[in-house]
Amino acid sequence: MLLLNASGCLDALAAPDVARSLDAFVTKTITPLPREGNRPVRIAETDVGMLNTIGLANPGRDGFLADVLPRLRSIGIPIWVSVGGFAAAEYADTCAALEDVAAIELNLSCPNVDEAPESAAEIVAACRKTTGLPLYAKLSPALPDIAAVAVAVQEAGADGLSLVNTIRGLKLDRATLRPVLSREVGGLSGPALRPIALAAVHACYRATGMPIVGMGGVATGGDALELIAAGAEAVAVGTILFSDPSAPDRIRGELEAELAGRGLADAAQVRGIAHEDREVNTKKPLQFA
């Protein structure tokens, strides 16, 4: 099983050892122009997860390509670049400028900025025209029918799915009854997101059979195993990295023990097992780039 970080949950340059404990590093989302991100307060803990409104802070496409990407390459692990934008053409232009990276993840679902007006499928189609690199579409769990969007991005040329982004949440200060975060709402991650992510992976695998990077509240090897059983081929960790930078090695060990306890050697043997006796749409070959 490949283990990645969720975009925006690790700075490989600040913590290269943590990055090297992963099979690939996913960058923070890159937008065409530099973004300072949202004003503080940007994070808040809740009883069931964490809220963030970072707001896609990043050095912009040119700064990333000139300054950040060369330094990331020197860390020596495969790089996935998360691409964002505010119009399909912006996504496509950044994709066109990327070479020699393992994959591109299209962030189609940031809860903390205004969205592009085009649909996810239109953005994927625009990017498909400009790059031959593996394209993963990162979708929001708040979509009313995520499986339908998964089918649409598959037909538009996506190679895989990243499921899921955070879902919008709000925390009020109990004393003042005012929002804690500067932009009021933020993206909820952590334990509360896990069953939501599991349902999204389950539905999208059933509908598309595509390669899926499953993420959302993964904290243990058992959590990873459930996402794989629902149809994920790879798993990403996010919030758990904040409290446990050694989580990748631990999760791998726990997953191996879970598999060994079932007499299995490879997580691939479990992939999609939750769909046993159900028809999975496998019109696309199951390959992981």
């Binding site: 700075d11 913590a15 503080p40 940007r42 964490m50 409290s243």
Partner: protein, 220 residues
């Protein structure tokens, strides 16, 4: 930076605060002003705490129980084990000629360790009440003032100031002593540059306090 599970040795009340004492394990205490991320039992995210004192074999943290995480830390019992990760960030520069420590409220937390490393220089401390001011006993050579008095009334403008305290105090200190070393605070999820949550404005730009600070010579 290293992570270990450390054993709680004791918790001691200091006015409204709690001094949490943990066995040091293999962790180095670092430089005064650096911080550790402490697992807050039962909570999702760890809490950043600067070292208060580092006697042999031990790390101590002065904690103000203001929320569920700090309350959980203060409720630790001897023998409990918590994950501790650090030291992190940039501490105070100790190559100063005439050090003066300036603290406000729970901002007194890193000053005992700093005082020890600097050979117990003079300190001025401001507190909300006499009860809070009991924490002044942790800092040798300290002069204390309680509201409505302000600690800035006690600052020698010609000294090399090393300060920690609430944001209005730090801004006031900086007005008086522009090159003061100031330890700032921000909510942090990770402490090592991963979450981008602790952004503060430093010289007109939003930067991560855990990576750039928490001790700065400029306003944050």
């Amino acid at each position: 930076m290293r992570a270990e599970r450390l054993t709680v040795r004791a918790t001691e009340p200091v006015g409204p605060y709690t001094l949490l004492r943990v066995a040091r394990g293999g962790l180095e205490p670092g430089i005064p002003g650096q911080f550790f991320m402490l697992e807050a039992p039962g909570r999702l995210l760890p809490r950043p705490m600067s070292v208060c004192l580092a006697p042999p074999g031990e790390l101590t943290f002065l904690i103000d129980p203001i929320g569920p995480g700090t309350q959980a830390l203060c409720a630790c019992e001897p023998g409990d084990a918590i994950s501790v990760f650090g030291p992190l960030g940039n501490g105070y520069r100790l190559d100063v000629e005439r050090p003066l420590l300036v603290g406000g409220g729970i901002g007194v937390a890193p000053l005992p360790f700093l005082s020890e490393r600097l050979g117990h220089p003079p300190a001025v401390l401001g507190f909300r009440s006499d009860w809070h001011a009991e924490a002044a006993a942790l800092v040798p050579n300290a002069e204390t003032i309680v509201e409505p008095g302000l600690v800035t009334e006690l600052v020698d403008l010609s000294a090399d100031v090393l300060a920690c305290g609430p944001e209005p105090m730090l801004r006031a200190v900086r007005e008086l002593v522009p090159d003061a070393q100031l330890a700032w605070e921000a909510p942090m999820a990770c402490g090592y540059g991963a979450c981008y949550g602790c952004a503060v404005e430093i010289e007109g730009e939003l930067k991560r306090l855990c990576v750039e600070g928490p001790v700065l010579r400029v306003a944050a």
